[in-house]
Assembly symmetry: C2
């Protein structure tokens, strides 16, 4: 494992973080008020209200946020990659179950300093807002998947999403173009993210392999042979709801 610097300016996730917008002085101050901690895979973070308005940045690894019904049905609602922010400022409650999917290094920010930046630094504030809005878009994209896509499309979409996320995030990945995807989730977690059962996920992966799009190296690693084929399996494009009410009339449903 790399040497994980405690210095913000040397942060492994620096380019992807919110903190990027800060000047050296601000950064030093935030650095002083932050601390880092490792969580091992599967470890959950605190009780329900353990956040108490504090935020943390994912430096390495993948976190998962999930919601559950009391009968055990569970839905993963977000994955957080290096550079992503965890928590909700101003708000004691953080209504999700937070768990490390892989081993994770978090950088916890001092609440007072973080809130201060939000108020005093417009660019920081705006970057934060941008993130929040992006999270909305991501959640809504996934709503489309959960509500309307088939099992095969869901699995293919997940693989593509992971491929994209891990390619420019500074995980434990080779920066090379080898197209080996290391899935940070178990089959059960994939299922909980996709609104499927783990058996179904397994079967769809088999189908994708049979179609020649991928090759399963081991349970966690997948060699992407034909990315286009994956894209195709992921279903039709999202339509920007073209102006063409002409096409809509015939093609609609």
């Amino acid at each position: 494992m790399k040497a994980w610097s405690k210095i913000c300016s040397e942060c492994a996730a620096r380019n992807a973080t919110l903190c990027r917008v800060l000047d050296p002085q601000e950064l030093a101050r935030l650095n002083h008020a932050s601390f880092r901690r490792w969580y091992s895979a599967g470890q959950a973070i605190g009780g329900i209200a353990a956040f108490d308005g504090r935020c943390a940045t994912v430096v390495a690894g993948v976190m998962k946020l999930s919601k559950a019904l009391s009968d055990g049905r569970q839905q993963i609602v977000a994955l957080l990659f290096p550079g992503d922010l965890l928590g909700r400022p101003y708000c004691a409650e953080f209504p999700y179950t937070v768990e490390a999917a892989t081993d994770v290094l978090l950088c916890w920010h001092g609440r007072a300093d973080f809130d201060r930046l939000l108020v005093l630094r417009p660019d920081f504030n705006r970057a934060f807002l941008q993130r929040a809005l992006d999270s909305i878009d991501a959640a809504r994209d996934w709503m489309l998947l959960l509500g309307r896509k088939t099992a095969l499309e869901r699995v293919a979409t997940l693989l593509l999403t992971l491929l994209q996320k891990t390619s420019y995030c500074c995980g434990d990945h080779q920066p090379s173009q080898d197209k080996i995807l290391t899935i940070p989730l178990t089959r059960l977690e994939m299922a909980d993210f996709l609104g499927l059962r783990l058996e179904t996920v397994s079967r769809q992966l088999k189908l994708l392999e049979a179609s020649g799009a991928i090759k399963r190296l081991d349970t966690r690693r997948i060699l992407v042979l034909v990315a286009d084929s994956l894209t195709h399996a992921a279903g039709p494009d999202e339509s920007g709801e073209s102006i063409a009410s002409a096409t809509a009339a015939s093609a609609h449903r």
Copy 2:
């Protein structure tokens, strides 16, 4: 129909809007830079990039945001009620199809003035941020529904949600406790919101009626007879993922 004042301080949606936090002076200024416009049910708003960073407040009626695949499959990702904000500041793109579900009155805000408030007024900024974060929560709640709930649970949940939303929003509703719910959606729209087919929605409503929880007055209006029964049909509580790994061991799945 009421007389819809053009004066912000007399706005029908005032108590639910962002603008609530503004002082009279700011309000007057924003008022000056805003204009109101009616959209009839079913009407779509502009082309894809018609927003161009501008925002609008829903004053009356219900808007829907949806995403679609190019083969016609569609998912409604959000409903906007009076007081809710529409659009995305700083960003030309607004990646949703925006349509009026009912007749809707929008109050369009001047971009410059709106952005200025966002920067200069911390309370306004914070209120906006709060909204965005609430939208994330709402989308993720719905992800749980789409990924894990049964058809009956979905329909019941929708009815409860609508009941709650319309009860304290200043729609065309009686403020009384009569428990008559006027659904602002067609069956097809309900289906597109719930990730179901319209026939399925219809059948589940029939089941709910057979169980005595509701009575269908006409296609749009529903008399809620036993709200508890609806709540029960909506499925088990969301668990705050209790500390009890003890219960989890047995009850989990």
